[in-house]
Symmetry: C2
Subunit: 285 residues, 2 copies
């Protein structure tokens, strides 16, 4: 397994493989790999000849008051997981290689970036869009994988890649969960035992929303209220948003028609957790 540290070595690796007709699968990560990442890597391993995983805690997507410094870093464990899954290369550049002196270019997807996570984290998605543009240009993958847990990020990357004609196809892989429904996230390590016990309420709220829709409810506001009630019952948790949205624009859906995405964010102590659930309405025969 190659450990690639420079952008020029990354470009060279990718170019050499493409010249040999090898297809490249790409899994961009911030490290602290868990079973959710493992699922993406396995999907890439099945679909492509070669797999590259990037491990880069991108500073530009963290706000000044956020957890950049304490974001979990564990390159040795991550390397072991990648090696075990048959990854061909890890791209782990230092921040100075990605953002050298004089760097100033910004990529923004303004409409999608204003909503939900963007409202709470004003510069977050500009940082995501910029680093994803850079990574896809460097790696030149045939297919890239993103996790569905960060649904808004996946929607934004889809828009970005289409708008800028970035290389390769995108695939979004279903969320991997703990037994009690908690979506896997590198930030779950921040939870105390008590917080960990409270955290699955977000999943239960989304389930309650989905159940109501299966039961015939079509009014977005009603479904949202129901999800909010579920979260409210768990005293140590605060809902940031629980919303019924259009799956591509992420705008609120007052009345459900065909497809919807239930989006949620809660705060457990100082930890923000995200989750979501796609819903498709079957028309009556």
């Amino acid at each position: 397994m190659n450990i690639i540290r420079t952008t020029s070595a990354m470009t060279d690796w990718s170019r050499r493989l493409h010249r040999e007709g090898v297809t490249i699968g790409f899994v961009p990560t911030m490290g602290a790999l868990h079973e959710g990442h493992r699922a993406l890597i396995r999907a890439a391993r099945l679909a492509c000849d070669a797999v590259v995983v990037s491990i880069f805690v991108n500073p530009t997507q963290f706000g000044p008051a956020e957890d950049l410094a304490k974001y979990p870093r564990q390159l040795r464990l991550d390397r072991a997981l990648c090696a075990k899954e048959g990854v061909d290369a890890i791209f782990a550049p230092p921040a100075e290689a990605m953002y050298p002196a004089g760097f100033q270019t910004i990529v923004a997807v303004p409409t999608l970036a204003r909503l939900w996570e963007g409202a709470a984290r004003p510069h977050h998605f500009q940082g995501v869009a910029t680093v994803v543009t850079k990574l896809l240009s460097l790696v030149q993958p045939d297919i890239s994988w993103f996790g569905q847990k960060d649904f808004q990020q996946a929607a934004l990357v889809r828009r970005l890649a289409k708008d800028l004609h970035l290389p390769g196809m995108l695939r979004v892989h279903p969320t991997v969960r703990e037994r009690d429904g908690l979506a896997l996230s590198s930030r779950n390590v921040y939870l105390s035992a008590q917080q960990r016990e409270a955290a699955p309420v977000l999943y239960r709220a989304l389930q309650a929303g989905a159940a109501a829709i299966r039961g015939g409810e079509r009014r977005g506001e009603r479904i949202q209220r129901l999800m909010a009630q579920t979260v409210k019952a768990q005293r140590s948790v605060t809902a940031e948003y629980l919303a019924v949205c259009d799956p591509s624009t992420l705008e609120l859906l007052p009345i459900l028609q065909r497809h919807a995405i239930l989006l949620g964010a809660i705060r457990v102590g100082s930890v923000r957790l995200l989750d979501n659930m796609p819903v498709a309405i079957r028309r009556k025969p």
Copy 2:
């Protein structure tokens, strides 16, 4: 010669050539091709196996009060010039192919875009940066050519391509001039006979600045004043800026050290004309 109209056909063409080991030279243009473009095409023809010229009057780089609608369009003449120069493909997409419904991504190079042309045309360089990112991603050239006449644009594209790791190398080709020094530009067709006669004063002003530097002048402000005086002598012309700048940051140089770029923009009636002149100071032996 292929005429390519869709983004997917452009990607396919480029991918097929790369698979065959063919190198691609790229000349992005807004059409209305003149001898300046011909020089870029010939340079590409010499350096690469295949040459693609894009002809796209990019709406996002024009302000609401600017000349988008009347910008010269002459696809038949442009095709003839390209065919004569041995161009392999023209990429001439309709605006809807480049900016389909839902398009929202923006690429910005904020520091460079605020200066000079950016001060006069607030959204211009954001439009340029966005379309160049899209074109380079679509065409995947080995080398792209830009004209030196638009020096700030070339500097900004260089920064952009480096920051986002866009494919291929960039080359900047010297400005082609009329006999009286006027830099070739598609906008020169807007000039009346009288305005055409007055227009070369910009070149003469830059020459006066360069001559002063050769004569030992090192104070940026003095050189600027000298250039301004030259333009002032031509009554029908107004100087927008005449500046002595650092060639990579384009910031004003109070004292010249080694390299400088003289940048100028004038208004002749309603026509804005640009020109520039690079200067290198030889150290005394």
